[in-house]
């Protein structure tokens, strides 16, 4: 028998009374089931109490033994008993730990097994069968290690314990700042890094006592010094490596992107929002606001799939940024940035909301409206003053400024086919219902005309007055998707539809009264309406698929909506993707749109001339 097992065996014999206690505890679930209040469901009472007591005692034993099995011997000056024998520090540590863990597990088995045997399926239903065991094993190990470490530090009565607590706080702070940028960017790699740091800490707590016993031996104070040295040296190395890795992951520039995840362009054309992936950085996606005139960029910590909201003027941009590591999707703060001031930085508004609540900037970019679960609030961005805050009921599906002083809000209840329309008058702070529209389909996001006078509801094809909800007409086309519908500046309604198996998308162009003006066949699939360009031009993107005969994967169409013709088709180009606003992005005739080409590089392209230029 190895000396490790000899020591473990001795420990088990010494503490065998714990098993008697566990045996007594094993009766408790059956006694609890005799209580009249639980007589209606005795199996559940037995399973529940048995499981709870088993887990509690297992963790409690681990906690108690962690604080006594080594530290108790050190404090009572009995550790020399082991060091006067031909046994290594490893045999002492692993022997004692093995016994402690075995006892903890045995206590669980002694208490839980009778309850399990008596209740069977009820136990499995309550505790998920054997799924509990890995968590319990991990919990027992963690309790034992933490208890051993804390007890060594505290019971040595050394002033060093103060330094230990300071370093603990420093390390926790360091971990927070290391993983924060990754977790707030929604990267699973942040959680993986957190897990690796946690694993390294557990490994350190697992092996540091070897150093503690090898250097400190039977002296509690020297033992404490040795343990602290091992733990903090390891912590510094682990956190330094993790910190360097995290810094390397987040330290990317837009030029490093090998894959563009999101690309939105301000209506003024002067700035883009860019989210991209880089090699060897897991799922971390960096997001930037890039000033196209100066080439300057600023990283923003928004989640990659949330995008941004540009003001209609293109003067400002707003986005939601997580502020909580624990619930990154539930505690978000609205940030804004001026785009008409070269050195403007991102500014926190102080407005916090949870995911799913929409927000929008006023046309000139000086105000932001934000919906929360209970309120609609408007803030002046310059002064951070709340201009209006009104209660609401229902889920805000869209909100947009009709004028700088009027916000229109679309409210709908889940699975409802009725859209309620409200207006918030900011100066008077009045929030009144102006109308509603009911269709034969469940409500999905509406599209709003650039002047805010009309809305078109996907799925049902209903075109209505944007303020009153009065139905103007019903289009004879069922619109399959949000991105395949738009109202243009001249009131033309565009609907793209791809029939299953068809080689092309049909783009239907309707007059404001619902009269079909043109139908344009666009080879490919998708029919995503990207933007309107001054002069009645509509930009539509199609996917050609991997096996298209042309060898291209996508194609951008510029359609003349007045004549109903394809003015231009450019292969392997896609962008910008401004789909999050209820109003279609509108660009001037000379605007240079930003897109991603077939080589996954950023380019600018002119929809009027078709010229494509690499973006530096």
């Amino acid at each position: 028998m190895s000396s490790t097992l000899v020591i473990a065996s001795r420990e088990l014999r010494e503490r065998s009374r714990v098993f008697v206690m566990a045996g007594a505890m094993a009766l408790m679930p059956f006694l609890a089931a005799l209580i009249p209040a639980v007589s209606s469901d005795r199996p559940q009472a037995i399973a529940g109490v048995g499981g709870f007591l088993g887990v509690a005692m297992a963790l409690g034993v681990a906690l108690a033994l962690g604080g006594s099995t080594i530290v108790g011997d050190l404090v009572s000056r009995r550790m020399s008993f082991y060091f006067s024998k031909p046994v290594s520090p490893a045999a002492i540590w692993f022997g004692k730990m093995l016994a402690a863990l075995a006892m903890s597990v045995a206590c669980f088995v002694i208490i839980a097994a009778p309850a399990f045997l008596a209740t069977g399926n009820q136990w499995i239903a309550t505790f998920g069968g054997t799924r509990l065991l890995p968590y319990l094993g991990g919990g027992i190990l963690l309790m034992f290690l933490i208890s051993h470490t804390l007890n060594t530090m505290v019971r040595s009565r050394s002033a060093l314990v103060g330094l230990d607590f300071v370093l603990t706080a420093v390390c926790l702070g360091a971990i927070f700042y290391i993983v924060k940028p990754l977790v707030l960017a929604g990267a699973v790699i942040g959680l993986i890094l957190l897990g690796i740091i946690g694993g390294a800490i557990i490994l350190t707590l697992f092996f540091a006592p070897l150093w503690q016993l090898a250097r400190g031996r039977s002296d509690i104070k020297r033992s404490h010094i040795a343990l602290s040295r091992a733990i903090w040296t390891s912590a510094v190395i682990v956190l330094a490596v993790a910190g360097l890795y995290a810094a390397w992951v987040v330290n990317v520039a837009p030029k490093d992107f090998t894959y563009i995840v999101d690309l939105e362009q301000s209506p003024g054309g002067n700035a883009i929002f860019l989210t991209g992936a880089t090699p060897a950085r897991g799922d971390y996606r960096a997001s930037y606001i890039v000033d196209l005139n100066s080439g300057k960029y600023e990283r923003i910590d928004t989640l990659p799939w949330w995008g941004v909201r540009f003001s209609q003027s293109g003067n400002a941009v707003a986005w939601m940024q997580p502020v909580s590591l624990i619930k990154p999707a539930e505690q978000l703060e609205i940030y804004t940035k001026r785009l008409d001031q070269p050195d403007a930085r991102a500014v926190a508004t102080g407005i916090r909301r949870s995911m799913g609540n929409d927000f929008a900037l006023s046309p000139e970019g000086t105000r932001v409206v934000v919906a929360s679960a209970q309120t609609i609030a408007v803030q002046d961005l310059a002064s951070h003053r709340i201009l209006a805050s009104v209660p609401k009921s229902g889920f805000a599906v869209e909100l947009y400024f009709v004028t700088p002083d009027v916000v229109r809000v679309h409210l709908a209840h889940p699975n409802s086919s009725t859209l309620e329309i409200y207006e918030l008058d900011i100066p008077s702070k009045k929030f009144v219902k102006t109308g509603e529209v009911t269709t034969d389909r469940t409500y999905v996001n509406a599209h709003v005309s650039p002047d805010g006078s009309r809305i078109v509801l996907p799925r049902s094809g209903v075109v209505a007055d944007a303020r009153t909800g009065a139905i103007v007409t019903k289009l004879p086309v069922v619109m399959p998707s949000h991105a395949g519908t738009a109202i243009l500046s001249d009131g033309t309604i565009a609907v793209s539809k791809h029939a299953k198996g068809a080689p092309q998308v049909t783009l239907s162009l309707f007059a404001p009264d619902g009269t079909l003006k043109h139908e344009v066949a666009l080879p490919g699939r998708g029919g995503w309406i990207m933007a309107e360009v001054e002069g009645g031009k509509l930009v539509v993107m199609n996917s050609l698929g991997e096996n298209d005969a042309s060898g291209n994967k996508s194609r951008m169409y510029v359609v003349d909506t007045a004549r109903g013709t394809i003015e231009r088709a450019i292969n392997d180009l896609h962008g910008p993707w401004n789909w999050r606003n209820p109003q279609l992005a509108h660009f001037s005739a000379n605007a240079k749109l930003v897109a991603v080409n077939g080589d996954r590089k950023l380019v600018t392209w002119n929809p009027t001339t078709g010229a494509v230029t690499p973006l530096k």
Partner: protein, 293 residues
């Protein structure tokens, strides 16, 4: 190969120096007694010797191996009777024996059983139930049952009655006679040391102030009582360890007594003087006590 060797060993606890540049050798098969008052540094030296404490400076060797880095294999060959028995109080004597038997390749169960029987201790007794003397006897039985080449006794008779002391030393002496092991002991109990020790060292304030064969030591220390005072001992080249008034005369303890030289001095000076040999305890008091602390 030496039994035990300390080379310039210094042990510190923070700013306090417990052992200060101590060097000594213990010849294999001999008995070395390290004496010193409480706090002199004996326990620190023993802890370094048993590999429980690393010397801040210097080197401690047992059987030619470093006591710190080679502790685990060395403990196979070293028996230890510690000052305070450190065996878990809930362990029974037979469990202690079982535990040791699994760890020591040279474990002798029969020798252990016989010794425990001789001590009159029941194998089923728990350590916590035994008297201090019995605990020491069990510890000694465990230490001797591994057939040690070196036996370290850290104040083995502390708190024991006269009978228990005698019994303990008899066991050690008998075992030494049978196996010729090296013994290193620290003790306050000087009477038995005189009978068994070959060499003594005296620690005072962490320094080894004396390290000598016991016979040589006893031969050079004498108590001299003069009828008058003062006495110019230096004229006889005698070094006084202590000098004090004794009645109307003077009592001196000299550490370099020589019969011939002293007789010449007495003849010349016509002084009335009484010379008496000293016990180890008296020498210890003179060296470590009155000049000490």
């Amino acid at each position: 190969m030496t039994g035990i060797r300390a080379e310039h060993v210094t042990i510190r606890y923070g700013k306090r120096t417990a052992v200060d540049d101590v060097s000594f050798d213990v010849v294999p098969g001999s008995v070395y007694a390290l004496l010193g008052r409480n706090g002199a540094g004996k326990s620190s030296l023993v802890r370094a010797l048993t590999g429980n404490l690393r010397a801040d400076l210097g080197k401690m060797e047992v059987l030619g191996k470093d006591a710190w880095s080679g502790r685990a294999p060395l403990m196979e060959r070293v028996g230890i009777v510690s000052e305070e028995p450190d065996a878990p109080p809930e362990m029974r004597v037979k469990e202690l024996a079982w535990f040791s038997s699994r760890l020591y390749s040279r474990w002798q169960q029969k020798a252990f059983d016989e010794r425990i029987a001789r001590f009159g201790i029941a194998q089923t007794s728990r350590m916590g139930e035994l008297s201090k003397g019995q605990k020491k006897q069990v510890t000694l039985a465990l230490a001797l049952a591994i057939s040690p080449e070196v036996l370290i006794l850290d104040d083995p008779t502390l708190g024991l009655d006269v009978v228990a002391r005698k019994s303990l030393f008899e066991e050690v002496i008998a075992h030494m006679a049978d196996f010729g092991i090296t013994v290193f002991m620290t003790t306050h109990d000087l009477a038995p040391v005189e009978a068994v020790a070959d060499r003594v060292g005296i620690l005072r304030n962490g320094k080894l102030v004396l390290d000598e064969e016991i016979d040589t030591l006893k031969s050079r220390f004498r108590r001299i009582r003069f009828a008058s005072q003062p006495v110019a001992l230096s004229t006889a080249n005698l070094i006084a360890a202590t000098v004090r008034q004794w009645g109307s005369g003077t009592e001196a303890v000299v550490s370099n007594y020589d019969d011939l030289a002293f007789e010449r001095f007495r003849d010349v000076s016509h002084l009335q003087a009484e010379v008496t040999p000293m016990s180890l305890e008296e020498i210890f008091i003179a060296v470590a006590g009155e000049q000490g602390e």
